[in-house]
């Protein structure tokens, strides 16, 4: 960190005033929002000071405090382990058959930490700076600074647990540079970093299960939050094997339920990834922040047909050696790429961004791929009206490093590609296309990770906190573990210091109401008895979202999408067909619940995107670009967090704005030209 | 059969791996024994005198510290104990394995396992039957199948007369095939059970050891019956 604290006592920007109002008629303006526990003082001191100020819970009392943690990914697993170690009485939930299968397991590239092991000028401040800048100045600086600060502790913790990070010959930890940053601060375990980190957290949690402090409920899906006297006091969950609707009461509830990228149907998320937990909380009063901020990853394996159930990410590292191109002429698109001469190829990223070339940030690489495909110059099979794919060509790299050199670096990726596509990427160029990968939006939380419902905390990808409008590579794992191991345990105690709260019983009216809601919904799904499967509605929703709320969003498109989603919602509730019973393992029933919530979320995402008439990070509004087609931010109007309050069934959502004021970093427009 | 509770007070000696170790050690004792036994059998090629001399000598090992046939009895007790341990562990593991999958697959393919590894149990049972028969034949009753006499005191004659009969030779050759297969996997398995195959290379070597042992032992044992049948030994 810099010797003198970089933060200023006076703000570096003024509060925004929105002039445009594209979403009028779709929402109700609400009161401005401020983080009630936002820290003040020099930025480098804020977290230390806060840890000290937050009240402690007497160890003897902890056993009497019941903590529900929904989700066992990095954020939830780490929190369950840590809270269990501290002696709280933890109940942990996940919908998978084992906590170890949470989708954090799929992360490939790595995890950032400001260790500066390479002595290349990294520091807490630089990681903080890069994250805020990468997020296009749409995140809260205190939160991000804290994230950067605890990042180093994460690595220590993981190594102590036995996470087998890559090492150098001397036995010390290795780092690589990732996602276009100029320092090497990414720790990794080959292409399976998420898996190794999650197994570390999982094992720590299982140790607490054995110790009796954590009880795990696997194959359980949370379907409702219980709010009593304004405080979250438990959840209603369905045992996915027996179908039993269970009530679990507690002093505090933590949601670590991951991202909602599956609203697009096709994404790199797991089949079961859902918004249900977050959405149910939203309907009970938790604000949903910046729901439209979606990250679309440029290097995924393209869609091969209508049957496709999910998309597979190919590590970004491929862009270090592969060259991206499409044919200059449409007529060449169905030719064997090897027969297209050099002069007929358009290496469009190298052409448009000569200095960054193929290594431009994710959102730019994705959008340009979409542009060339929309021009009709895409390659691969026709999907709908277009070919959706561009070449990622390793011919030059193979000539330079030899086939063995490439194999050494990427063989698992090349094998995976060959398995999925049936093509040999050593011989013909790979085809790639962007896919939804991560959502920066999520439930609104304050500096303590507490949502707008007291006693309901939200961690990991499920909250909106740290990445602004765009997330840097290798920073989601960092955030999940930061939240779970170090932040939440230190903030939740300030809330729990007032506990144990008054005991409530299962016949409390609020509990009965929550339970009844769940039971009625289940019965409803089974009784509509229409003609279409939940999956078919989900696919249709995905098409709408991808088309109108995907890589490029426009006012007209979004309005159209909102209408289409409303129609889809009506069709869903009248034409859904779910077979089987409520009291058994019923995967169609599970799916129906998730799709119902995705549909409502999709509408809110479009409204949020419509309101934000600027381009920032992963959100690109066609109406807000520079002359040469680059994203254009409007800080004076939109330097705020859009926190949406549920407007009731049939009502409009209420928009609360939390202004983003910086004291340590000055806002700048991004430029990669 | 999964259990919802965690085991308390676990002991290494009460594990399946302890049973496996018992099998490996007793199996290695057998291997040592069959190697020595085979070496002795090959004495048949040196003629009647040398063979009988050797059979007699076994009984004199360790004299005068040990009484006559003392060492032989020690060997016998050790072997018997090893057999009890080996068979008892095999039975225990066999029963566990059949309880581990009570509902069988409708279709099941074997990909990497060798035939010998999959027939250890039935092969072992064959060997057990053979050992009983073999002991009755040569050690306890000493039946000369060509004459019908029992209690012969000339081991060499007993051997030659037995293997002159073709079906006796066949029984022994089949038993040796069973032994070869048992050792082919057993040798490797014992090395692995003892934990000496922690690399791909050492594993390959252990497999080679299995092959060599199987060929040497079964081959070595088979020479005498075959050569007797064809009259080379008479």
């Amino acid at each position: 960190m810099a010797a003198t604290d970089p933060s200023h006592t006076t703000p570096l920007n003024s509060a925004p005033t929105q002039i445009s109002d594209d979403a009028r008629g779709y929402y109700t303006p609400g009161e401005p929002l401020v983080d009630p526990v936002a820290p003040t003082g020099p930025i480098g001191q804020r977290w230390t000071q806060r840890k000290f100020d937050n009240r402690l819970v007497n160890p003897a009392n902890r056993r009497k405090l019941d903590v529900i943690i929904v989700g066992t990914g990095l954020a939830g697993g780490a929190a369950a382990a840590t809270m269990g170690e501290a002696g709280y009485n933890v109940k942990s939930f996940c919908y998978q058959d084992s906590p170890r299968r949470a989708h954090s397991i799929a992360a490939q590239g790595g995890i950032n930490a400001a260790k500066n092991y390479k002595e290349d000028g990294d520091s807490t401040f630089r990681l903080f700076y890069d994250t805020v800048k990468g997020g296009d100045y749409r995140s809260r600086e205190s939160n991000v600074y804290r994230l950067a600060e605890v990042s180093a502790d994460i690595i220590d913790q993981c190594v102590a647990q036995g996470v087998p990070f890559a090492r150098e010959y001397g036995g010390l930890l290795d780092n690589r540079s990732f996602g276009g940053v100029q320092v090497s601060r990414t720790f990794y375990a080959r292409g399976q970093t998420g898996q190794q980190l999650l197994i570390g957290a999982y094992q720590a949690m299982e140790r607490q299960v054995a110790a009796g402090t954590v009880t795990e409920y696997t194959r359980h899906e949370m379907l409702e939050v219980i709010v009593v006297d304004g405080k979250a006091r438990g959840i209603i969950a369905r045992d996915l094997v027996t179908g039993e609707i269970e009530t679990h009461l507690a002093d505090v509830v933590v949601l670590a339920t991951g991202g909602y990228g599956n609203v697009f149907f096709l994404s790199t998320n797991a089949m079961g990834s859902n918004v249900t937990a977050a959405w149910r909380a939203h309907r009970k009063g938790a604000y949903m922040a910046n729901p439209c901020y979606t990250q679309i990853h440029p290097t995924c394996i393209p869609v091969s047909g209508d049957h496709q159930s999910k998309l597979t990410l190919m590590s970004e590292s491929l862009r270090n050696d592969g060259r991206i191109w499409v044919p200059k002429n449409k007529e060449d698109c169905d030719k064997d790429p090897r027969d297209i001469p050099e002069e007929d190829r358009d290496y469009y990223l190298e052409r448009i961004y000569p200095s960054f070339g193929n290594l431009v940030p994710r959102d730019i690489a994705s959008r340009q791929a979409k542009n060339v495909c929309d021009e009709g110059r895409g390659v691969g099979p026709m999907v709908g009206d277009f070919r959706r794919g561009v070449y990622l060509d390793f011919t030059d790299a193979i000539a330079r490093l030899g086939e063995d050199g490439i194999r050494e670096k990427y063989d698992n990726l090349f094998d995976m590609y060959a398995r999925i596509t049936g093509e040999n990427p050593y011989e013909t160029p790979m085809r790639i296309y962007p896919a939804v990968h991560y959502v920066m939006g999520g439930l609104w939380v304050d500096y303590h990770l507490q949502s707008s419902i007291p006693g309901l905390f939200v961690t990991g990808e499920a909250n909106f906190s740290d990445h602004g409008a765009n997330r840097l590579g290798a920073s989601a794992l960092m955030q999940g573990l930061a939240d779970g191991y170090f932040v939440l345990p230190n903030t939740i105690r300030d809330y729990l210091a007032d506990g144990p709260f008054e005991k409530i019983t299962e016949d409390h009216p609020a509990v009965v109401e929550a339970r009844t809601q769940v039971e009625e919904r289940v019965t409803k799904f089974l009784s509509i008895n229409g003609t279409r499967s939940a999956d078919s509605f989900h696919k249709e929703l995905g098409h709408i979202m991808w088309e109108y709320c995907g890589m490029e969003r426009s006012e007209d498109g979004l309005r159209k999408a909102i209408d289409m989603i409303r129609e889809l919602k009506a069709a869903f509730w009248s034409d859904l067909k779910v077979l089987g019973t409520a009291d058994s393992l019923n995967q169609s029933l599970e799916k129906a619940g998730r799709v119902a919530d995705f549909i409502e979320l999709g509408e809110l995402m479009c409204i949020d995107a419509l309101n934000r008439r600027e381009s920032c990070g992963g959100h690109f509004r066609a109406e807000s670009q520079t002359e040469d087609g680059e994203a254009l931010r409007h800080d004076e109007e939109f330097a705020y967090v859009a926190a949406w309050e549920w407007g009731g069934e049939g009502g409009d959502p209420v928009l609360h704005k939390e202004d983003l004021i910086y004291t340590a970093i000055e806002m700048k427009q991004r430029s990669y030209k | 059969m999964a259990t919802p509770t965690l085991v308390k007070g676990a002991r290494s000696t009460r594990s399946t791996i302890a049973l496996k170790l018992a099998m490996a050690v007793s199996g290695l004792i057998f291997i040592g024994y069959v190697l020595a036994h085979m070496y002795g059998n090959l004495k048949a090629f040196s003629g009647e005198e040398a063979f009988n001399e050797y059979a007699h000598h076994i009984r004199e090992i360790g004299e005068p510290i040990l009484p006559h046939a003392g060492a032989l009895w020690i060997f016998r007790v050790v072997l018997l104990l090893a057999l009890v341990v080996h068979v008892a562990s095999a039975v225990a593991l066999w029963r566990r394995a059949s309880k581990a999958r009570t509902q069988k697959y409708a279709v099941k393919k074997n990909i990497r396992s060798s035939l010998s590894s999959r027939t250890m149990r039935w092969g072992g049972l064959t060997l057990l039957l053979f050992i009983v028969w073999h002991l009755l034949h040569f050690t306890i009753v000493k039946v000369d199948v060509s004459t019908g006499d029992t209690g012969s005191d000339n081991p060499y004659r007993l051997l030659v007369d037995s293997f002159d009969v073709w079906w006796m030779t066949v029984i022994y050759l089949v038993a040796m095939l069973a032994l070869a297969m048992h050792l082919h996997h057993g040798m490797f398995s014992a090395i692995q059970t003892l934990g000496f195959t922690n690399t791909a290379k050492s594993r390959a070597r252990a497999r080679e050891a299995g092959w060599i042992l199987a060929v040497v032992v079964a081959g070595g044992f088979s020479l005498v019956p075959i050569f007797t049948l064809f009259g080379v030994i008479s």
């Binding site: 190794q196 089949m271 | 290494s12 566990r96 279709v107 398995s189």
Partner: protein, 247 residues
């Protein structure tokens, strides 16, 4: 392509199941095996028949949820997970038999879905390094030899799918357990608990009703992560050492 599917149907854990035959037409070879089952399920749903329950989540070969016995091979004919298996590994007109993992320690819950929580309990019994949050020393204070760290990583890639158990004629979970023992045992941080860990994990493994290993090696042929047989040797060795220490 057109296929005949023999699929194990079982309404719940207690009711007896049986193989049912379904005909499926027009399957593309670009589909994954599970997408083929998705198509079947759409078809069943439309016909008013209960769709086939099967487990999957990440569908990219890393979470270990998918778990099908396909024509007598765990995860099917390729060295990969069920979700990464594609229909181009089959031919038009093929008959494919699909069964759940079979092991009494993995009871069937419905159709092709099994309960693998026994694996979680094996980990609970000792498959961890005790390091409370916040108590860790600086990460580089203890160097770990690179070759050992590599071996630890290679076996830590186990996804806990249970294919090794499904393929093993003895229903043994030794490969899974050996992978964890080796992962933690190769790292300096794993040493203090090394020999209690192995005893506790093996005891839990046995109590769950998994069979003993006979070093047959079917597990390694089925393992989508190619965990090698030497982890079982390592497991045996560590247990033998624990025995010597009188544990």
């Amino acid at each position: 392509m057109d296929l005949t599917l023999n699929i194990w149907r079982q309404p719940d854990a207690v009711t007896h199941g049986a193989l049912h035959t379904y005909q499926l037409a027009g399957i593309s070879e670009d589909m994954s095996f599970l997408e083929m089952l998705d198509v079947l399920n759409e078809q069943l749903n439309a016909a008013g028949e209960d769709p086939v329950a099967f487990d999957s989540d990440c569908r990219e070969g890393i979470c270990g949820t998918c778990s099908l016995m396909i024509n007598g091979q765990a995860h099917g004919p390729e060295v990969t997970t069920t979700c990464q298996l594609h229909m181009r590994s089959f031919k038009d007109g093929d008959t494919i038999t699909v069964e759940p993992w079979r092991a009494d320690a993995f009871p069937v819950l419905k159709d092709l879905v099994t309960d693998r929580s026994a694996f979680d309990r094996i980990i609970q019994s000792g498959g961890y390094i005790s390091a409370n949050t916040g108590s860790a020393p600086e990460a580089n204070s203890v160097p770990a030899p690179r070759d050992k760290a590599m071996r630890a990583f290679n076996v830590a890639t186990c996804i806990g799918c249970g294919a090794c158990v499904a393929a093993c004629p003895n229903g043994s979970a030794s490969l899974f357990m050996g992978a964890k023992i080796t992962h933690l045992g190769e790292l300096p941080q794993g040493q203090p608990e090394r020999y209690t860990r192995v005893v506790d994990m093996v005891a839990q493994h046995d109590a769950e009703g998994f069979g003993g290993c006979t070093n047959i090696g079917e597990c390694t042929a089925a393992c989508p992560k190619e965990i090698p047989l030497d982890v079982i040797s390592q497991l045996n060795k560590d247990l033998r050492t624990a025995m010597k220490q009188g544990r």
